[in-house]
């Protein structure tokens, strides 16, 4: 994962230096609020514009081919070389919030010709994409760097005011 990413990144840098602008004009929000999974953590306020800068306008880094950018991954290109802009570019419209629901598992099982059988769910997609890049770039990676725990979250993790009373060690071993 890491090596591939670095390669892609270097390729992008090279493109920038050659002053080749991506074909697509930049659209999209300046900030997006990711709140569809909010429960244990407060919504994430995602600075889209800043991240667009970071990836030097290459939407494909996050959005695959859905924005119409040329796909860089050879394996994707085999099918998606000429795929145009998708109807929706939002993560949640392709990545299922309940990937392991019986319906979704059945849908995958029934679709005999489906290639993307290993598509992560929405939460997985967010975290893998964000964290993967953050790790590569040395950006913050702790949970609360991106989203603060709700009270429910603190109870869930038994942290903060729900933390176990210290000094109570497990039975002497």
């Amino acid at each position: 994962m890491s090596k591939k990413f670095i390669t892609a990144w270097l390729a992008l840098l090279a493109l920038m230096m050659l002053n080749v602008q991506p074909a697509q004009s930049m659209e999209g929000p300046d900030t997006a609020t990711l709140d569809s999974l909010t429960d244990l953590f407060a919504p994430v306020s995602f600075n889209h514009a800043m991240h667009v800068d970071v990836v030097a306008n290459d939407c494909a880094v996050c959005h695959h081919h859905t924005t119409g950018t040329k796909v860089t991954d050879e394996r994707c290109a085999r099918c998606h070389k000429n795929s145009g802009e998708a109807n929706s570019v939002a993560c949640r419209d392709c990545h299922n919030a309940n990937p392991f629901s019986a319906e979704n598992l059945q849908k995958i099982a029934d679709a005999e010709l489906l290639f993307h059988t290993d598509k992560p769910g929405l939460k997985g997609a967010y975290h893998r994409k964000c964290l993967g890049c953050h790790q590569e770039m040395g950006a913050p990676t702790a949970c609360e760097n991106c989203h603060t725990k709700t009270e429910k979250g603190e109870a869930f993790y038994r942290s903060g005011k729900f933390a176990p009373t210290p000094g109570k060690e497990p039975a002497s071993e």
């Binding site: 890491s2 392991f100 629901s101 893998r128």
Partner: protein, 314 residues
């Protein structure tokens, strides 16, 4: 598979007849017990260690779902990764059914995390060792147990090759076995994935039919050349497990026992189990024969004594 089931029935029959022979009654039920392993549509979980970031959310989810006792440290306290007892990293206990451990693998970029819980074997050692029949392998793939009948003998802890079952050592009144049930009662039964799977932010775990997951796992290895060790841990180990693992570092480096072999645990016991019916059938005849022989000699002596009377010492 057919053969396997037949063999099991045979073994059970042998033992059951042992009971019948030693004590009249009971035992009859034994012939018609549930059948084992290899349910075609059983569910499983594929754990991709390369995706785990060690956030311990799965531990917290398990604790909440199973209404486990309060942990010793908060679930977002990462100092637990440094806990070492007797040279061992954390393991399952009466307080936790799943743990994540951190491994520093030489030559690997950054730490590797390994989630660990009951692997839900196709032919579980715990199940075959339980003399109160507390364990059940459900058609959904979970290995569950009935703590209402558990005597607390802890043979399942001996028999588990993965060191999974724990025991409620702290309970003076009702100390029984406790282990991961794959959230059978609350989730799996209703077609939902275990709490840890659902809670994982990274989707380290993929839930699905076991046979699909094997396919998926091999595809993932194939589609990402060089990324994974070309092995799905649990596909064949001890007869196959419902929980299987992909790793980008050698399994032995992250706490997996790679020397378990593919035989289910019960296969190691069958040599003794075949002895049982033999002893039961041969011994009575053999020793009655010995007795008759000995008596015959004695009778001969007695008749000799009758002719030449002499006292034997008492």
């Amino acid at each position: 598979m057919k053969n396997l089931l037949d063999r099991r029935k045979f073994l059970k029959g042998g033992l059951a007849s042992g009971v019948l022979a030693s004590v009249l009654g009971t035992g009859k039920k034994a012939f018609a017990e549930h059948s084992f392993g290899g349910y075609p549509n059983s569910m499983g979980v594929l754990v991709d260690l390369s995706k785990c970031i060690g956030c311990r959310t799965c531990e917290a989810a398990c604790n909440k779902e199973q209404e486990m006792p309060a942990p010793d440290k908060p679930f977002d306290d990462m100092s637990v990764f440094d806990e070492i007892r007797h040279g061992q990293k954390r393991r399952t206990s009466e307080k936790t059914h799943t743990v994540v451990n951190r491994y520093d693998v030489p030559g690997h970029d950054g730490p590797v995390f390994r989630k660990f819980q009951c692997n839900h074997c196709n032919e579980p050692g715990c199940l075959s060792s339980c003399f109160v029949n507390a364990y059940t392998k459900t058609p959904e793939g979970a290995v569950v147990y009935n703590e209402k009948v558990c005597v607390g003998c802890r043979t399942c802890m001996i028999a588990c090759p993965f060191y999974v079952p724990a025991y409620k050592y702290s309970s003076p009144i009702n100390p029984v076995i406790t282990k991961c049930k794959m959230c059978y009662d609350t989730r799996l039964k209703n077609g939902r994935p275990p709490a840890c799977v659902e809670a994982c932010p990274q989707e380290v775990m993929t839930f699905g039919k076991r046979r699909d997951l094997i396919k998926l796992g091999h595809e993932r290895i194939q589609k990402n050349p060089g990324k994974y060790i070309d092995h799905i841990y649990g596909e064949k180990e001890v007869g196959g497990t419902a929980w299987m693992y992909l790793s980008s570092v050698p399994f032995a480096e992250v706490g997996f026992n790679t020397e378990l072999g593919d035989q289910p645990i019960v296969n190691y016991v069958k040599e003794f189990l075949t002895v049982v019916p033999m002893v039961l059938t041969i011994w009575p005849a053999l020793f009655t024969g010995f007795h008759l022989l000995a008596k015959r000699k004695e009778n001969q002596k007695e008749s000799q004594k009758a002719t030449t009377p002499s006292d034997r010492n008492a």
